[in-house]
């Protein structure tokens, strides 16, 4: 598709003259055991079209029955986002033809969403931005189309298409923000921070596995810009296919640069759906919303209204967990960390890992050192997420405990972790199998020390004369002789003791 594309405007330049407004629509696949309106499994990765039945295939005569757990999860999300919960609302049919929609309509909610008018606070550069939540509603997912042949993997130009209806009918919650103005140059970062905070919140609620790469969390990003001081908002575009946190930030940034270019060259922004391209970080036009489809919404006559009682809502409220922001504040306090330390932990994706390692018995400092030091280095080497390393917080805690008790020194501890990462077993098994234990037997140490003193008489004299710093040379020799298994602290003590003895 050729597009008349004026040059992008440099980001700082664009921000100096234009004020962005962002908005986000996030789709979350709920982690219920069964689908929204039938008893089929929601498990990811099953054989195509194996988790289907007359209802989720939309066969003639079939009827939906709403999943109570999905409604409960939606209320949980609404409460966690400070929303009002409707005491009575209905599902609606959204009508449009598409092969991956079994009924050629989607059961969704229209003008009566289950949750409305809430907020989520996100922190960016020590500033709290309150993102307003317009609505949280419940709907069913569509099937998944796979377009075979053609260049782009999109339906246009494909030879044929395959549809997998396993996803059809999986409960999907849509969280829609209010427009977020006034974030200026931070708009892309705020967008990313919001999705991150929402993801962490949803995970803490236990309502979804929130995996962007598997599509259980999907994000559409709305962006508009208006000339600074104009007092108006611009026309927004809606960018789809934004499949990672990084892409959220990049998509907003690109749209600001692109829209500034269009406006600078005298053009106008068209309200349209745009497609984000991961490889290039750019967006291209999809269908125009100005010739928008008429979805002919009307209340779903096959379902009865949802009327959650006040008691039920309060019961759900009572089971809400500690939210991520509150938890972070508590941990930061408990661990005595600075804002900067805390931010580093979060950015490295190590917060939960450290918390679990501490919970398993390690000191906060040790846990942090392992995850941000040695383990972060290993993850970096392989390009994996920290959480994806084949080592558990409990195992890290055990290694940490062995070090604290003096059974391992830091060098040996790293070897134990090597073993764990290589899949050789638990830390204790590896210590036993590799024979990795600190030599703390004074007899064996003394023999090595005497050897070292004998081999380095001048150093020994220097130490005797009071310059104990020189002991390092002797410790090195002892460590070498014991192949690293000596307890360095004890070796130092014994060396000083030995040389202090009347010769």
């Amino acid at each position: 598709m050729t597009e008349l594309a004026p040059a992008l405007v440099n980001y700082d330049e664009a921000i100096s003259r234009y004020e962005p407004v962002i908005g986000l629509e996030t789709h979350v696949e709920l982690g219920t055991v069964t689908k929204m309106f039938c008893g089929c499994s929601t498990a990811f990765g099953a054989e195509p079209n194996s988790a289907v039945c007359p209802v989720c295939l939309g066969l003639p005569g079939s009827l939906p029955v709403a999943n109570r757990t999905a409604i409960e999860y939606t209320i949980r999300i609404g409460l966690a986002l400070n929303c009002s919960i409707a005491s009575w609302c209905r599902f609606a049919r959204k009508n449009y033809f598409y092969p991956d929609m079994p009924k050629d309509f989607q059961i969704s909610q229209y003008d009566e969403p289950l949750c409305t008018d809430g907020w989520l606070d996100v922190t960016v550069d020590e500033t709290v931005v309150r993102v307003g939540i317009e609505r949280v509603h419940l709907e069913e997912d569509t099937g998944k189309s796979l377009h075979i042949g053609g260049a782009t993997g999109r339906i246009h130009g494909a030879d044929y298409s395959l549809v997998d209806y396993n996803r059809a009918g999986i409960p999907l919650v849509e969280v829609v923000t209010k427009p977020v103005p006034g974030t200026g140059a931070l708009a892309p970062v705020v967008a990313r921070a919001y999705v991150t905070e929402l993801r962490d919140l949803l995970r803490s609620l236990g309502v979804s596995d929130v995996r962007m790469e598997e599509g259980s969390l999907r994000c559409d990003v709305n962006t508009s810009i208006a000339r600074r001081g104009s007092g108006t908002w611009g026309t927004r575009t809606e960018t789809k296919n934004v499949n990672s946190l990084r892409s959220v930030e990049r998509a907003v940034r690109f749209e600001i640069e692109r829209q500034a270019g269009v406006l600078d060259s005298g053009g106008r922004i068209v309200q349209e759906t745009r497609h984000f391209h991961e490889e290039t970080g750019t967006t291209t036009a999809g269908r125009s919303k100005e010739e928008a489809q008429d979805y002919r919404y009307f209340p779903e006559p096959d379902l009865v209204p949802v009327a959650p009682s006040a008691e039920w809502v309060e019961q759900i409220r009572a089971t809400l967990p500690e939210f991520p922001a509150a938890r972070r504040a508590r941990l930061q306090r408990e661990w005595g960390l600075s804002d900067l330390d805390m931010a580093a932990l979060r950015n490295a994706g190590a917060l939960d890992l450290v918390a679990e390692t501490v919970a398993a018995g390690a000191s906060p400092e040790q846990a942090r050192n392992w995850w941000l030091g040695e383990l972060a280095r290993r993850a970096n080497e392989t390009g994996a997420d920290l959480a994806a390393l084949p080592v558990t917080p409990a195992q890290v805690a055990r290694v940490s405990e062995l070090v604290a008790s003096g059974a391992l020194n830091s060098k040996l501890a790293r070897q134990v972790l090597d073993g764990v990462l290589a899949g050789e077993g638990s830390p204790d098994e590896i210590v036993a199998a590799r024979g990795l234990a600190v030599v703390s037997d004074d007899g064996a140490l003394l023999a090595a020390i005497d050897q070292a003193i004998a081999a380095n008489p001048e150093i020994a004299d220097t130490i005797r004369s009071g310059k104990t710093a020189a002991a390092g040379v002797l410790i090195g020799a002892v460590m070498k002789a014991t192949r690293g298994q000596a307890d360095a602290t004890r070796a130092r003590e014994l060396i000083l003791q030995r040389l202090a003895e009347p010769g």
Binding site: P54, G58, P60, N95, K103, F105, R296, F298
Partner: protein, 508 residues
């Protein structure tokens, strides 16, 4: 027992004869299969006959009886199923080319309940395409014929079921009522048909026309048989969210009670007068007088918003159908047209729907699509829903004063095939009296109340009761039936002109 005799018996009599061993379910089934073989080429009530499945089901009932197992009150009795109830062992076409040959992978809840009750499904009945029509002329597979006069319609949309029951091809039939599709064909065929309270009978596996209106219900040649079938198919179904979780009204007991003394009966002012056939009004008035003579207290009751029922219905039903019928797109099942490798999915959908749907279905899909469109929704669909509420309030107010309401079931007797085929509005008027109860969701029945003198064709009396008071229909219906049969000296169907001689439609 002779084959002819078996097809003339009531369902209750057949069940008793099978239970006592006087006859077998297989013999009863075979007798009806023979009857179908003999007359259905003239009546065309069936789209699909399933002799093997029917005889196997009958054999299973006989085996259960032989083993001493208890049998239900209709075990071994044959039945014809309107061709929109899903059946795993028979096609389900809804009278449409678009579903020709489709064999559902699941049974409707009602199909399952019938099978469990030992009822023998003979086959699938003809119907107006997707239940849209009042004559079966909208069937893609040709119309059914009224056994009273083969040149006339048997009503619709459940016209195949009503024709089969009338022609003694089956003692029981199942239909669905969305705007009158059980009561109107029952009325013009001279049999009994009930639209239960909405939600009283499960819609799971009933291919939808208009979800908020569709109500499956029984058809039979007498009130007691209708009640027996009503009871078998009713009750809460967790697979249908709109199914009512409440005890089934005691319809069979009410049919046996057949007593109206002291009952308050309201004649609806708005359902009568101009536009009604004189013979229909005459028989209706006699039926009201009969009720009075049987001890009912008759008053006239006004339901002022009933005059808006028909236009409201023709916005709500098409709106829902435009959405319900979207799934017939040639992608997953049924007809697919134009898939030659050069066309897009959208083009194939469009060609399939153009070829697969008949004119009336297309008309209603377009009406409904328009009524739901952005900018028109409030004026059409929204307004129609408000009218619906007003009609329900009319019923509520009326039932404060009376126990049941009565009216003619339909303004005219059976009309000739072809007469209204090109005049949709004239066709729609056939459901003038039945639509209010569909919109309000309350229960209603049609029972025969004699023949119109001018054409000798059956007239139906409609009785309407409050939501979940379905039993009152049977109390009143059975009383009227008993009194009329006694006065006449024989059942109404014995007078059917089109039914002469063995092998012909009547086979008397």
């Amino acid at each position: 027992m002779a084959s002819t005799e078996l097809t003339r018996m009531t369902a209750a009599e057949l069940a008793a004869a099978i239970a006592s061993g006087e006859t077998s379910a297989v013999d009863v089934t075979q007798a009806h299969l023979n009857r179908i073989e003999a007359v259905d080429s003239s009546v065309h009530a069936f789209l699909h006959v399933a002799p093997d499945a029917a005889l196997a089901a009958a054999g299973a009932v006989d085996a259960r009886r032989a083993a001493g197992e208890p049998l239900g009150p209709l075990a071994g009795v044959p039945l014809v199923l309107k061709d929109l109830f899903t059946t795993t062992d028979m096609p389900t076409t809804c009278g449409s080319r678009i579903l020709e040959g489709w064999r559902p992978p699941y049974d409707a809840t009602i199909t399952t309940r019938l099978r469990r009750a030992g009822i023998v499904i003979l086959g699938k009945a003809n119907m107006d395409e997707f239940a849209m029509g009042s004559s079966t002329e909208n069937s893609a597979f040709g119309p059914s014929h009224n056994p009273w006069d083969l040149s006339r319609v048997p009503g619709g949309s459940s016209g195949g079921s009503s024709a089969a029951v009338t022609a003694f091809e089956a003692p029981l039939g199942l239909g669905t009522d969305t705007g009158g599709s059980i009561r109107q064909p029952a009325a013009v065929c001279g049999i009994v048909g009930t639209k239960p309270t909405y939600g009283g009978s499960s819609r799971y596996g009933v291919v939808a026309f208009a979800s908020s209106l569709d109500t499956p219900g029984p058809l039979a040649r007498n009130v007691l048989d209708t009640a027996l079938l009503h009871e078998v198919i009713s009750g809460h179904d967790p697979c249908d969210s709109t199914s009512i979780d409440a005890p089934v009204p005691p319809v069979v007991a009410a049919a046996r009670q057949a007593d109206v003394s002291g009952l308050r009966v309201g004649v609806v002012t708005e359902l009568g007068g101009e536009g009604y056939q004189p013979g229909v009004l005459g028989r209706f008035t006699e039926a009201v007088e009969l009720l009075q003579s049987l001890g009912a207290k008759v008053t006239e009751v006004s339901c002022p918003h009933f005059s808006y029922a028909l236009p409201a219905y023709y916005l709500i039903a098409p709106s829902e159908c435009s959405s319900n019928l979207a799934r017939f797109d040639g992608m997953r099942y049924g007809l697919r047209v134009g898939d030659d490798g050069t066309r897009s999915a959208e083009e194939v959908m469009s060609l399939t729907r153009d070829a697969g749907f008949g004119a009336e279905v297309k008309r209603r899909i377009m009406l409904g699509t328009y009524a739901l469109s952005s900018g028109y929704y409030d004026a059409y669909y929204g307004k129609a829903q408000q009218v619906r509420t007003l009609i329900a309030r009319d019923f509520d107010a009326a039932f404060e004063q009376v126990d049941v309401l009565v009216s003619p079931t339909t303004p005219t007797t059976a009309f000739p095939i072809g007469e209204r085929a090109d005049d949709p509005i004239a066709m729609y008027l056939a459901d003038l009296c039945t639509i209010p109860s569909d919109l309000a969701g309350n229960a209603a029945i049609s029972v025969p109340c004699g023949l119109a003198p001018e054409d000798g064709l059956p007239v139906g009396l409609q009785i309407m009761a409050p939501v979940l008071a379905d039993d009152r229909l049977y109390r009143v219906g059975a009383a009227v039936e008993a009194a009329l049969d006694q006065r006449r000296g024989h059942p109404l169907l014995d007078d059917a002109k089109g039914m002469k001689g063995e092998g012909e439609v009547g086979g008397k």
